[in-house]
Amino acid sequence: MVTERLEVRSMKLIELLYLLFNNKRFIIGFGIIFFELILAFMGPLLYPVDPFDTNNPPSLPPSEEHPFGTDRFGKDVFALVVYGIRNSLYVGVLTGTFTILIGLTVGLVAGIRGGIVDEVLMSFTNVVMIIPNVLLAILILTYVGVERSGLELVAAVLSITTWTGFARAVRAQILSLREREFIYLSRMAGFSSIKIAFQDLLPHLATFILISFVNYMNVGINGEVGLSILGLTSISIVTLGKLLYFAAITQAFLFGQWWTFLIPGAILILLSASLLLIATAIDEVFNPRLRRM
């Protein structure tokens, strides 16, 4: 009982931020992502070069005029990267949101309703789990038409198969929570199931949702890269994955044009690593078993 009392401590927002910013992992992760966000949103203002302008000399190595060089089409790589980060983050946030929304709904309904609803929803989840996700993505994207599909569709296609693990975890948490006495006391006060879900259950899931969101952002960003390299996303939308795709089809590696793939690749790795660091840090701060005092 003592551990349970320590486990969930109600804390104020400032206290939480203080704890987070005392964590080295969080500072590093947040620093990287902050830098990339600045690049994505302030970049076009600080570096007003059109990423679609093909009038530059092609395949230039990094120079003062073009900090990250130019690609085979004569596009400025720095301008492309600035646009790419923004679109990649957009896909990540969308994937995270979709995944959390689907998973949370299924998990909450299955956990709270129980019985036959639970069994049907969980069987459905298991069926979705065994669908090969890349195959499904290829099918949907080619059916819609690669050039007509926007980033929203890419995020949706990625979310369709990734929510299952999250839904199962939410359901498991609800199952253990709903037999607690405070749920009974709220019910006996005449609270409806929805009110109990929002007031009593969701706060217990909040950190888990936050961590999952960050992790699914990562899944979205990397999933988009995979689909881009397979050539399943629109050529007119620049993302970090698309830059790697362009580098691959122009055989940049053979010609030694390292700046066209190493730079977007490094930024992608940094982005992924920072998201992982942030997720681990949140877990470490909120889960006292991992906290080092």
Binding site: M1, E4, R5, L6, E7, V8, R9, S10, E119, R180, E181, F182, Y184, L185, S186, R187, M188, A189, G190, F191, S192, Q199, D200, P203, H204
Partner: protein, 266 residues
């Protein structure tokens, strides 16, 4: 004494497993009558179905078969709307075993008292609501200024259990089910908590059902003892009858296993 609540062949069967059904009869054909103003103890070992029975009476778990009548209304069939449920829970309420689990750790302890006020139709933010809360906390021996606005982890188990009893005091139910209310507390606080239940009965005429596995406690406080074994009520009667002249084998076994002072274990 008038009948307050009656259960008629109440049965709860749990089934698990999708292909191979495993059936557990938690409560088996239980018919009991609770009268107004009495203290009844429900005694039994772990897994004998005491809590399941209580949950069905509290309208938290649907029975497989059988009926519960409260003041002539069938609890599981006549009550339809949320208003009906609220009426029922206003009259039948509970105090649970684990005071630490009875509070949502994300909220201040005021929340359970505010819930009680909303149930009886008083605005928690009004001066009257504040007055009622303070009065209820004083009844259970807590200082309102030191208690209100605190989080559950800042208070002790005994204090938390007192707050839950003060919630019952605000609601003033006709029937209070206390599911092992003192088993998580140390012995020195037990007596004081038990006195509070006595205060509830004396002042409000509340019928109290004590669910416990402690025969000594049941003997000391109750007017009537029900002994439950494997889902059935196997013995019923006054404490003297049950404790001094047990009829059922299980009750005899139970009495033999009570450790006594002044007797060496051999």
């Amino acid at each position: 004494m008038r009948i307050l609540l009656e259960t008629k062949s109440l049965t709860k069967v749990f089934e698990t497993g999708f292909f191979k059904r495993i059936v557990v009869k938690a409560v088996d054909d239980v018919s009991i009558i609770l009268s107004e103003g009495e203290i009844v103890s429900l005694v039994g070992q772990s897994g004998s179905g005491k809590t399941t029975l209580a949950k069905m009476i509290l309208r938290l778990l649907e029975p497989t078969s059988g009926d519960i009548f409260f003041q002539g209304r069938n609890v599981w069939k006549d009550l339809k709307t949320l208003e009906d449920f609220k009426w029922y829970w206003k009259n039948v309420h509970a105090v649970f075993q684990n005071p630490y689990a009875s509070f949502n750790p994300f909220y201040k302890i005021d929340r359970v008292l505010h819930q009680a006020l909303m149930l009886i139709g008083i605005d928690p933010d009004s001066p009257e609501g504040d007055r009622v809360i303070r009065e209820a906390l004083e009844v259970v021996g807590l200082r309102p200024d030191e208690t209100l606005g605190k989080y559950p982890h800042q208070l002790s188990g005994g204090q938390l259990q007192r707050i839950l009893i003060s919630r019952a005091w605000i609601i003033k139910p006709k029937l209070l089910l206390a599911d092992e209310p003192v088993s998580m507390l140390d012995v020195s606080t037990r007596g004081k908590i038990l006195e509070l239940f006595d205060i509830l009965r004396k002042n409000l005429g509340t019928t109290i059902v004590f669910i416990t596995h402690d025969l000594g406690l049941a003997y000391a406080i109750s007017d009537r003892i029900l002994v439950m074994y494997k889902g059935k009520i196997v013995e019923e009667g006054s404490p003297d009858k049950v404790i001094l002249n047990p009829e059922h084998e299980y009750t005899k076994e139970l009495l033999k296993s009570v450790p006594t002072l002044y007797k060496k274990w051999s």
